[in-house]
């Protein structure tokens, strides 16, 4: 290499002709940028740019470019020809299958209840080898998914191969709305119920209420409401879910915007459906938006104890504006505030990790968490959590009963409990899997489906033996061509066994069985149960929470690092 010399002369780019014969360097204040200036620039570019680009295309770019420069990570111009637009128009439907794209074709991992697929002869383990006449061999996951989705009411033709059946099964699946139930629940002990909400989608309130009612009927006298990894969703559902636990008239959320059309305030319409039921809400860095609205409202009204780690900090609302031609503009229009007046928005500047919901980074991070089986149902840290406990400069507020709460960036839990951290070996293994793009979770489930078919005598309380683990690893290597370092896998054995056990339990005994394994392992859940066991009422729970908080001072319950 050559030692660099720093110059006081700037690096000049390759300049040729100066067009329009001379400088128009004017003294004094320059007139502001304007529509006319934009037009001039558009004309210059379309006339002179080295590649052909039309003025129309440039206006399209001006729209996209403006939104980028604006710095609103949630702003988007949704074009009419785009799938998102179709979603917003509610024209698109799906088939209702959980699939995995593999070299030989699309493997069916699961069938969603009450979906188009559930009414047909389809089972987990089937392989879709053709879609509308085209071979599915070698398709990417995206291609597979988008081939099956399409306009509602229209059929997609698939050819399915099944072990033991000589001929291909030919099916027409008529696409429709596919509703995925967002809740899962189980009893953690004789009297502690647990319900996990994946997102705030349509009917989430109904489903949550049904789940809680079931738990109460089964003997639950307290509740863990798990909102970890719940990115949010429909605002109305958030309000209605908060309403389940709040007395009528209590403020839930208040939004403020520059235009009154974008401002609204919601109070709980109905009574507390579960008066006297102690509730712990679990949150983490990936709980966002609607999750934060619910946690914030329940916290401010002393209705639930919030436990876990500091949340994401999405305290802004977007509005979606329809535009001519079937286009839409989504734009951040307001900030929302909890009942005590907190904004919990964390502004993420340029260069900061912009985990804008729906952004690629966020989706990657969450899908990474999910891929490795680190869904909302266990406490493993999927990504480093930089948001942990810095409340020194956060503005303070008071709940209805006077407890201290913080604004300024995410909901700070009343009781901070760090998630279980991965050991170094486990972190490395996770990194290796991510780097090699291995869909660990899906592959484990796939293996599980097959394994269960071969071992019908498996009991629900099975343990993962070394033989089972090694059979799975062989399978993994076969399917992905990725040879995992034997020593690394040994060192991270605990993690592998856990993930495998979970997927196998889910495949063999249903989602609940898988959920149970994950939940029982989580430190955050155990701490929640401990607190609930010590409280006979919501008031006692809050008091216990305060005690715990004061005892810890600034310490968090964490592993030795």
């Amino acid at each position: 290499m050559k030692l660099r010399r720093s110059w006081t002369v700037p690096v000049a780019s390759l300049l040729a002709v100066l067009a329009s014969g001379g400088w128009l360097l004017q003294e004094g204040a320059a007139p502001p940028a304007s529509e006319a200036l934009l037009e001039t620039v558009v004309r210059r570019v379309s006339d002179n740019f080295v590649e052909e680009v039309s003025a129309g295309e440039l206006y399209d770019m001006a729209i996209d470019g403006l939104l980028v420069e604006l710095g609103d990570p949630y702003a988007a111009f949704i074009r009419a020809d785009n799938q998102t637009a179709a979603l917003l128009n509610n024209n698109y439907g799906g088939v209702g299958m959980r699939i995995l794209a593999e070299e030989e074709g699309i493997t069916v991992l699961g069938i969603i209840p009450d979906s188009p697929s559930s009414k047909l002869d389809l089972q987990p383990g089937d392989r879709i080898v053709e879609v509308d006449g085209e071979s599915t061999a070698g398709w990417s996951q995206e291609e597979a998914v988008s081939s099956l989705r399409g306009p509602k009411g229209e059929a997609v033709h698939v050819a399915v191969a099944r072990e033991g059946t000589p001929d291909l099964i030919q099916l027409d699946i008529v696409r429709d709305d596919v509703h995925i139930v967002a809740t899962q629940s189980l009893m953690l002990s004789d009297d502690v119920g647990y319900v996990y909400l994946q997102q705030f989608s349509r009917k989430s309130t109904e489903e949550l209420q049904a789940a809680v009612n079931d738990l109460l009927a089964g003997g639950a006298r307290s509740l863990v409401l798990d909102l970890r990894y719940d990115q949010g969703g429909i605002l109305r559902e958030a309000v209605e879910i908060a309403d389940l636990f709040l007395d009528a008239g209590k403020m839930v959320v208040d939004t403020r915007a520059r235009d009154p059309r974008d401002s609204y305030s919601f109070t709980a319409p109905g009574p507390d459906r579960y008066p006297g039921l102690p509730v712990v809400v679990l949150v983490n860095a990936w709980s966002a938006s609607a999750s934060e609205i619910v946690a914030g409202a329940l916290q401010d009204h002393d209705r639930a104890l919030v436990l876990g780690t500091r949340t994401f900090g999405k305290g802004v609302m977007q509005s979606v504006f329809p535009l001519p031609g079937g286009n839409y503009l989504r734009l951040t229009t307001g900030t929302w505030y909890t009942p005590s007046g907190r904004s919990i928005h964390r502004s993420r500047g340029e260069g900061e990790d912009t985990f804008a919901l729906g952004s690629n980074e966020f989706n990657d991070a969450v899908s990474e968490a999910v891929q490795l089986g680190m869904g909302a149902t266990d406490g493993f840290v999927a990504v480093p959590d930089p948001t942990m406990e810095d409340t020194v400069e956060a503005p303070t507020y008071r709940t209805d009963s006077g407890r201290l709460v913080y604004g300024g960036g995410g909901i700070v839990p009343d009781v901070i409990v760090a998630p279980d951290t991965l050991t170094i070996a486990e972190q490395e293994l996770r990194q290796v899997l991510m780097d090699s793009d291995v869909p660990f979770n899906d592959l484990a489930f796939r293996f599980a489906v097959q394994y269960h078919r071969e071992h019908p005598d498996l009991t629900e309380n099975f343990t993962v033996t070394p033989e089972l683990r090694s059979e799975f690893l062989d399978y993994l290597e076969q399917r992905t061509g990725a040879a995992l370092d034997v020593d690394l896998v040994d060192a991270a054995g605990d993690l592998v066994d856990f993930q495998l056990g979970r997927q196998l339990a889910a495949a063999a005994f249903g989602e609940d069985a898988g959920l149970r394994r994950a939940v029982e392992r989580s430190r955050q859940v155990s701490e929640a149960v401990r607190l609930l066991n010590g409280a006979a009422s919501p008031e006692e729970l809050m008091a216990l929470g305060e005690q715990t908080r004061n005892a810890k001072a600034n310490e968090s319950i964490g592993p030795e690092s």
């Binding site: 400088w23 320059a30 007139p31 210059r44 403006l66």
Partner: protein
């Protein structure tokens, strides 16, 4: 791409009317949706919604400015940018070069902007500024933590104006105060020396206004010292003025030989340049050395010499900037810098990577990279368009200029690890060696011009390192990387004691590319001979071939060095 909408002018008028009347020109059908008017109106709607409904208030002028910047960004060409009136001064300076400076080469070392060298016959030299001086303040303002750009902004200014500087100098307890009057700084862009009694080495830093003249003078000077063969070093040369790229090529080519052609969509912007004057050094075998930080005009020269079979190109594939920008004046004192043409070598190649565009950041990275970790360069010629030189040799389009002889600029894993270790403390190995050298030459004022690196120097360097905050280097690693450390120590001591040229000469003498270029020239007596050797005549192993044979280990093609 759609055809340029020829009915633009009336369309603009229509747009204006439509906007004025506040209504849509409702047109049905897909064609309507593609019309300029429609899309302009859609933009207008979006702009209005943002203005009225966005959570924060943004004034109209800012919105349009964002739209313009954003649009140019979406265009995907980092060289096409809007330059607001507030930045016009800089623009003028960068083109005319009519600024006043002090005559120092600076770089940020740790927290402080440090003088790396003083330019001869400059105000700085006259006032007594020295290599190693730290700039602690300018015009009363502390310079702590400044980066290069900030320093340049504060130091440069109109010719004839004074600037007061506080300097921290080794051995001086208090800062020293200087007042320096800015002047036109003539920056030497050429460095040259004799390798042995037959081979001359000349390095060109960039294609500034006097590049050709200086280069020509330097080579003639080398010839008078006996040089009959030449190494022309264009590594780390990011380009400059197009006409100088042509003029430098002209130095080595026969009259009438093709040099470069620019093609643009605008008819009267197409130019073809051929050598106007003729080869000033006929019969002199030439090796041109290039690397990923050789860009633009450097690639014009390399391409012209390669296609005319005039020189052997050696090194690693170049940057790949085959575009030309034009600056347009806009109302309000604003300007638009726009890529308006691509340029093509004599055989018709565009050497741009992927498209006309490259990345300004890539270039910046390349130029500032302290370690060029181009481990194992594969000349990836598969799928690239094939062209032919005048003599029928195969050359490739796209992907930068692919050298005829590829010599990887390899660093070992250990060396990279060392850079990483020092990097964590905020330094580069070069900077640390510099720091050491300044101290050493201060303590040992009578260094022998033929000095070599001694154990005493190494020990003291290691000692100095252990005192640097946050720096911890594994002693075994240090041992293993000794040759590289020695190289830097030698170069920086030469710099402090004997100046820039000596530093350069000593450093280069250990560079694999330099060594291979010299080796080839020693075996060849004529330009034709040289070409034959390089094409795999009797050349021994170690050099790559033009058919893209892989050299070295690994499969990374690392552009820009990092």
């Amino acid at each position: 791409m759609k055809k340029l909408n020829k009915s633009w002018v009336p369309a603009v008028a229509v747009t204006v009317m439509a906007l004025g009347s506040g209504g849509w020109l409702l047109q049905q059908g897909v064609a309507a949706q593609e019309s300029t008017v429609y899309r302009a109106r859609l933009f207008d709607e979006v702009q209005r919604l943002v203005s009225e409904r966005y959570v924060e208030e943004v004034d109209s002028s800012n919105l349009y400015r964002m739209a313009i910047d954003g649009m140019l960004s979406e265009l995907g060409d980092p060289y096409s940018v809007f330059i607001g009136a507030e930045d016009s001064d800089d623009l003028e300076l960068s083109i005319e070069g009519d600024y006043g400076g002090l005559g120092i080469r600076i770089q940020k070392v740790g927290e402080w902007i440090t003088v790396m060298g003083v330019i001869p016959n400059s105000p700085a030299e006259r006032q007594g500024l020295m290599t190693g001086d730290r700039i602690v303040g300018v015009e009363g303002e502390s310079a702590r933590g400044w980066d290069d750009t900030q320093a340049v902004d504060h130091l440069r200014g109109p010719k004839g104006t004074p600037v007061s500087i506080s300097i921290g100098r080794i051995g001086a307890a208090e800062p020293l105060e200087f007042t320096v009057v800015r002047d036109e700084i003539h920056v030497e862009t050429v460095r040259s020396f004799m390798v042995d009694d037959r081979i001359g080495f000349v390095d060109l830093d960039q294609f500034s206004r006097d590049a050709r003249t200086e280069l020509s003078n330097a080579i003639h000077d080398l010839q008078s010292k006996g040089a009959r063969e030449l190494v022309l070093d264009l590594r780390w040369n990011p380009g400059g003025l197009l006409d100088q790229g042509v003029a430098v090529s002209d130095l080595f080519l026969p009259r009438g030989a093709g040099i470069v052609e620019t093609r643009s969509r605008v008819e009267d912007q197409n130019f073809t340049f051929a050598a106007p004057t003729g080869d000033e050094f006929p019969g002199v075998p030439i090796v041109v050395i290039v690397n990923p930080a050789s860009a633009s005009a450097s690639e014009i020269v390399a391409g012209a010499l390669q296609d005319n079979d005039r020189a052997v190109i050696l090194g690693t594939p170049t940057f790949g900037k085959g575009s030309v920008q034009t600056v347009f004046a806009l109302p309000g004192g604003n300007h638009l810098k726009l890529t308006t043409a691509g340029w093509y070598t004599p055989s018709g190649r565009s050497i741009s990577r992927s498209s006309m565009h490259g990345s300004e950041d890539d270039l910046a990275l390349a130029v500032t990279a302290q370690v060029s970790a181009t481990r194992g360069i594969v000349a990836d010629t598969a799928g690239r368009e094939v062209f032919h030189t005048k003599g029928g040799r195969v050359v490739y389009g796209g992907g930068g200029i692919t050298p005829d002889v590829i010599v990887p600029d390899t660093t070992t894993l250990d060396e990279r690890q060392l850079e990483q270790s020092v990097g964590r403390a905020g330094y580069s190995l070069n900077q640390l060696a510099f720091r050491f050298a300044v101290q050493w030459t201060n303590d040992h004022p009578d260094i022998d011009p033929d000095f070599t690196v001694t154990p005493a120097m190494r020990d003291e360097f290691q000692h100095m390192l252990s005192e640097v905050e946050g720096l911890e280097i594994d002693p075994d690693l240090f041992q293993r990387v000794q040759p590289r450390i020695d190289r830097f120590l030698e170069a920086q001591i030469a710099n402090s004691a004997f100046g820039d040229l000596e530093m350069f000469r000593r450093f280069e003498a250990q560079s694999p590319m330099y060594l291979e270029a010299v080796r080839l020239l020693r075996e060849a007596t004529t330009p034709e001979d040289l070409l034959r050797l390089a094409s795999g005549g009797e050349s021994s192993s170690g050099a790559g071939r033009m058919d893209g044979e892989k050299v070295g280990a690994g499969t990374d093609v690392s552009e820009g060095g990092n």
